[in-house]
Amino acid sequence: MLAFAIKRLLHTIPILAIVSLIAFGMIKLVPGDPAVVMGGTNATAAEIDQIRRNLGLDQPFHVQLGAFYWNLLHGDLGNSLLLNVPVTSAIIERLPATLWLSAYAMLLTLIFGLATGIIAALRHNTWVDQAATTLALIGVSLPNFWLGLVMIVVFSVHLGWLPTSGFVDPAESIVGFLRTATMPAAALAMLQIGLLARITRSAMLEVLRQDYVRTARAKGLPEWVVVMKHALANAMIPIVTVVGLIFSVLISGSIVIETIFTIPGMGALLGNAILRRDYPMIQGGLLFVAAALMLLNLLADMLYAYFDPRVQVDRDG
């Protein structure tokens, strides 16, 4: 499994190189002179020249590209034009909130998505199945920012149970984290719960018809062992392939949700960077998100290999 992971990790290097090239090219592709755009309308010619020199835009293309990669290899993504701090440290400061929020939403998705899907499959074609399927459909059709706003109105404004905004790191206070992160995570997860429930239901229905499930029953195993061990272990194979995808969607989705709940994560950072044309920051954010998604993909592949012994990993080379 370790060899498999390393091999897959090596595969991500060319992809990262391409993504970084795109990030680099982004500045080149801005219509007109990027330094003028960054300088804004009030900038003097001297200021624009300064920006150009700071970004190395006065250098020939290959020198710029070489410098970009050289800095990248040293973890240097340049300075934010807006915040005047290194992009890397700004991102590292904001990343935890986004990751915690996404992870919490992922946990909610797994718990409620799997449970709903399994129950629907077991009560196939009954009112329970229909209710679960309808709920899942509703979950899929509600936009998460709207859900977030409704939650704020209900739980914060009317009931006063939870704060409308802010974020407490779970390392500081678990209770504080749960109080601040539950609403945004739930709003974020709702769509994915619906999605996962539908996938789980169809995977379970498929698996429950298989001969090995009959074998498990013929052994006299209790029904819950038949379902939660013999059937679910097989249903997990198609499920994990979408779980990786769901996590990536959650990370991107949290950028929107963070804005609604004013959570100091990557969302606000990148949102501002985009509005204010903070190109180094956008570049850095793009690279970080791409790297995170690739790591997630790798994780999903490893989970897949774990759940399906027929997948050849390092066993036979």
Binding site: D211, T215, A216, R217, A218, G220, E223, R310
Partner: protein, 330 residues
């Protein structure tokens, strides 16, 4: 018969289908005595699997439903038993092997675990003890270097080896009865013979009874003490093995024997009787075999024939047993 280990009476199982209700097993009765090997034979689609699965409550309900009958095992009716008690009999007192070795094992668990699981459940032994017994079982069913094979996954084994694993699972808790549903049909001929030999050896060793389902007369000949012939969901004839081969009285059985291949030529299965099984959704009235039967008269097609007792342990559901008396083995 009070000495029966399993006594099936009037078993009737239906499937709900789009075109209405299909009766797959229609008023079927037979016994299996302790230590006895009973063959259940019939063309593919005659209801053998449905009968066996009904007895163990393994059919998906819906669409299947047992409409009537009883299956008394060791004095208690499996069909009326609470699910929890039935689970204590499945895999413990009654083992079952299925027709499809390629799909009957769970692809994501090692074979050793799939055997040990049964032992932990029914024998209440620990993990280590269960693994040891699993090795012994794999060894017993003829899997070479069993202790190294324990952690193999099903996809690493051939069909024949997988069926041996299924046998090991079925026999793990020393059942009194083994139901083997066409255990060799999906395998090639040499492997079939090896597996049948293995089952025969195991039966002699353990003294368990066996219900062997097959559509192959050659297999029956090598194996069974007594034979139940099914046709289109009903019992056509039941007889001790010698009687079945020397003096069958149901025209269908006679047709089967006329068409009997040896074990080595299983390809030419039971296909030489003209015609085919009736559509289970719309069976002919009266005797189901009448449309294919050279002895049939008008009345055969009018009413279901009664089962006639011909001798001790020999019965046939046929109105024309007088006319079928003069059968000569080919």
């Amino acid at each position: 018969m009070s000495d029966a280990l399993l006594s099936v009476r009037n078993l009737t199982t239906a499937f709900a289908t789009e075109s209405g209700r299909t009766i797959a097993v229609d008023d079927v009765s037979f016994d299996v005595r302790a230590g006895e090997a009973v063959g259940l034979i019939g063309e593919s689609g005659s209801g053998k699997s449905v009968a066996a699965l009904s007895i163990l409550g393994l059919l998906p309900t819906p669409p299947a439903r047992v409409l009537a009958g009883s299956a008394v095992f060791e004095g208690r009716d499996l069909l009326q038993m609470p699910a929890k008690e039935l689970r204590r009999i499945r895999g413990k007192r009654i083992g079952m092997i299925f027709q499809e070795p390629m799909t009957s094992l769970n692809p994501v668990f090692p074979i050793g675990e799939q055997i040990a699981e049964s032992l932990r459940l029914h024998e209440r032994i620990g993990n280590e003890a269960a693994r040891k017994r699993a090795i012994a079982l794999l060894d017993r069913v003829g899997i070479p270097s069993a202790s190294r094979r324990l952690d193999d996954y099903p996809h690493q084994l051939s069909g024949g080896m997988r069926q041996r694993v299924m046998i090991a699972i079925a026999l793990a808790c020393d059942p009194k009865l083994l139901i083997a549903d066409e255990p060799t049909t999906a395998l090639d001929v040499t492997v079939q013979a090896q597996l049948l030999d293995l089952l025969n050896d195991l039966r002699r060793e353990t003294g368990m009874a066996m219900l062997l389902i097959t559509h192959n007369m050659g297999v029956i000949a090598e194996f069974a003490d007594r034979v139940v012939v099914m046709y289109s969901g009903r019992v056509a004839e039941e007889a001790p093995i010698e009687t079945l081969f020397d003096a069958p009285r149901h025209p269908y059985t006679q047709g089967l024997l006329g068409a009997t291949p040896t074990l080595a030529q299983t390809e030419a299965r039971l296909r030489t009787i003209p015609g085919s099984l009736p559509d289970p959704a719309a069976p002919p009235p009266g005797c189901r075999f009448a449309p294919r039967c050279s002895f049939a008269d008008a009345e055969c097609s009018a009413a279901r024939p009664a089962e006639i007792s011909l001798a001790v342990g020999h019965r046939a559901a046929c109105r024309r047993t007088d006319a079928t008396k003069n059968w000569q083995a080919a």
